[in-house]
């Protein structure tokens, strides 16, 4: 299954200085993620999974170690270079959706293209429409976030993460603010996108959610504890049908 690695991390360490105390969030992590993979990073709070996510997402830089994204060393770059990498190669989905309030779904999705200095996407409007169609929200384009349900808002956020055709889609607790049924719906969107070849990495602490992915990396105290393929993989569509049957 492993093709050329999208992410290659070598002995990454991250230490935060909180007052006098050094907090070692990551104590030497090695990881490879191939193109088209769908993996979950799991762990209790304080395990370092969010720190790892921020490093992979180029929101933060490591204290030491190397990070290759698409084969390019991005361990030590300027702030502007990080911003450009986030714009070109990374799509973020957050727990709290993080959509711009009082701004339509379409405009929210267009936002990353606004900061695209390469202008590789010629027509931002149609690219955004296309991304919203992919998450099944073509009919909600002119709605502002507070006119949308939580699940719909998260799908808008996924469309925003997709619009720049990133190398990897990063999701930080994407179902954390959603009820279980809506969570499955969102996971179904992820599974569909993954089936289309998009590399997805989600951070979660919910065992159920991780079973929709293909590979689970478990962290504890800044180390990777285990890294294994998902055995009994759940199919979100089937689960949704079951819920429907139970209710109907």
């Amino acid at each position: 299954m492993m093709m050329k690695p999208v992410i290659e991390i070598k002995d990454i360490r991250k230490t935060y200085h909180v007052g006098e105390i050094d907090v070692h969030a990551l104590r030497g992590v090695d990881m490879k993620v191939g193109a088209g993979e769908f993996l979950a990073i799991m762990g209790a709070s304080g395990s370092g999974k969010s720190t790892l996510m921020n490093l992979i997402g180029c929101l933060d830089e490591p204290t030491s170690g190397q990070y290759f994204l698409d084969g390019i060393d991005v361990s030590d770059l300027s702030k502007n270079a990080y911003a450009d990498i986030r714009n070109q190669k990374i799509g973020f989905v957050f727990q709290g959706f993080n959509l711009l309030p009082r701004t339509t779904a379409l405009e929210n999705v267009e936002l990353p293209l606004f900061y695209d200095r390469t202008h590789r996407i010629r027509d931002p409007g149609s690219a955004a429409t296309e991304a919203l169609e992919r998450v099944g929200l073509a009919d909600r384009m002119d709605h502002v976030p507070n006119q949308l349900s939580g699940g719909q808002q998260q799908r808008v956020a996924i469309a925003r993460a997709l619009v720049n055709r990133p190398s990897i889609l990063l999701a930080d607790e994407p179902t954390g603010n959603l009820d279980s049924r809506t969570s499955v719906e969102v996971m179904s969107v992820f599974q569909e996108l993954n089936a289309q070849g998009i590399t997805i990495l989600i951070v979660t602490h919910e065992q159920d959610i991780s079973r929709y992915t293909r590979r689970i990396v478990t962290m504890r105290d800044g180390h990777i504890m285990s890294d294994e393929a998902v055995k009994k993989r759940l199919d979100a569509k089937t689960v949704l049908d079951t819920i429907k049957d139970e209710n109907g």
Partner: protein, 406 residues
């Protein structure tokens, strides 16, 4: 370019989202800009009016005042205060070739009784040429003549205000008036001149022959000042020199000694008056500019609040690839749009205020394009200056912290 258009659109949108707040924020700039324009406009207006008034005073006019004489920088005190006499006026009249008209001016004043009314006013004893120097025209009757002056005739020419107060609608020509119990015959009424630059009524005056006033009202031989007019505007300085030479000889001032008089021409007086008024204008403008700066502080305050409020938005924008500079420009643009729209509204407001002032009051305001453009530019500069700190604060946020901000 396209980027700028979108950024502008975004900043307009965020300003319109908080209409009330934006309006109140801009209010500082609106008031500041309109204050600057109106204040400077009123200053300019009064300056222009003073210049007009002074040039209306007379043709190529020269005024000679007595002054303290000094020797070697030491004032010789009050005893050396040499006033002018009729001989001085005669000497100028006889000898100065470049002086067309000359007149003594003797100031007096008092209670006037006529027609059962009484009025207190200023009486100026002058020579017949005075009407040419000051360009006085007669509404009715005649001005007194050289013969009237020589024979100290008790005749008077009334200013419009005086005539109105003593005689109402009746024509005063031929009537008797009593100036401090001395009877005078009214031979003419002056045309109305209105207020002068200081707001004084120029028509509240009585003109009488200088010799009459000197001998019959004051019992004195000194005159207060000499008015003259040069043959042309070009010759005005030479005419002044002539007058100086004559007066020095008359007053027996030796070579090396200072003049005991002061000769000024109309241009000099205009300059003096407009200099005073220009200083006033600058002062008013400076006070108004301070209010513009206060407006700028208001913008800074609101932008700081806005940056805090929108920390999460900044985090979102950064997470999708906005550079610090993108955020900086966004917030800076918002501050500039706020201050510039305040500037535009301020300009419109000042135009309205100027229109109201010019239509309904005696205050005359001129809108100078230079000041309008300058205050507009200044309001933009205020936006950049006071918007920069909040914008930089926004641009320096750490994306992770900004995203977590509640």
């Amino acid at each position: 370019m396209k980027q700028l258009k979108r950024l502008l659109k975004a900043s307009f949108r965020s300003i319109l989202k908080n209409r009330m707040r934006s309006l109140l924020t801009s209010l500082g700039i609106i008031i500041g800009v309109s204050a600057v324009i109106v204040m400077v406009g009123v200053g300019e207006g009064s300056q222009k009016r003073i210049a007009q008034e002074i040039s209306a005073l007379g043709d190529n006019m020269i005024i000679v005042f007595p002054s303290f004489s000094q020797r070697g920088g030491v004032s010789r005190g009050a005893g050396s205060f040499n006033r002018f006499t009729m001989d001085d006026v005669e000497a100028i009249r006889e000898e100065a070739r470049l002086v067309r008209h000359v007149s003594a001016v003797v100031m007096s004043g008092g209670q006037i009784i006529a027609n059962g009314n009484n009025w207190n006013t200023q009486i100026q004893g002058v020579d017949p040429d005075f009407k040419f120097i000051r360009i006085w025209k007669l509404a009715s009757g005649d001005f007194f003549t050289e013969r009237d002056n020589r024979s100290r005739k008790k005749v008077a020419v009334l200013g419009h205000t005086v005539a109105e107060n003593l005689f109402g609608t009746m024509d005063p020509v031929g009537q008797k008036i009593r100036i401090r119990n001395t009877p005078f015959k009214v031979i003419g009424v002056l045309e109305k001149k209105g207020q002068d630059a200081r707001g004084q009524d120029q028509d509240d005056i009585i003109l009488a022959p200088s010799t009459t006033v000197l001998n019959r009202l004051k019992g004195d031989r000194f005159i207060n000042m000499i008015n003259a007019s040069a043959t042309s505007l070009e010759e005005i300085e030479k005419a002044q020199n002539e007058i100086s030479q004559i007066l020095r000889r008359q007053h027996k001032i030796e070579y090396g000694e200072d003049d005991d008089f002061f000769v000024a021409n109309q241009t000099a007086i205009t300059e003096m008056a407009s200099e005073t008024s220009r200083i006033m204008t600058m002062l008013l403008g400076a006070v108004a500019a301070v209010s513009l700066i206060v407006g700028g502080i208001g913008i800074m305050n609101i932008m700081l609040v806005s940056v805090t409020e929108r920390t999460r938005e900044i985090g979102i924008r950064m997470s999708v690839g906005a550079r610090g500079s993108d955020i900086l420009i966004q917030f800076l643009l918002e501050a500039v749009v706020l201050s510039l729209s305040g500037g535009i509204i301020g300009i419109l407001l000042s135009a309205g205020i100027a229109l109201i002032l010019n239509t309904w009051t005696d205050i005359y305001a001129v809108l100078k394009p230079v000041i309008v453009i300058a205050s507009f530019t200044f309001s933009g500069a205020v936006g950049v200056f006071f918007g920069f700190y909040p914008a930089r604060k926004a641009a320096r946020l750490n994306p992770i912290d900004a995203l977590r901000y509640e």
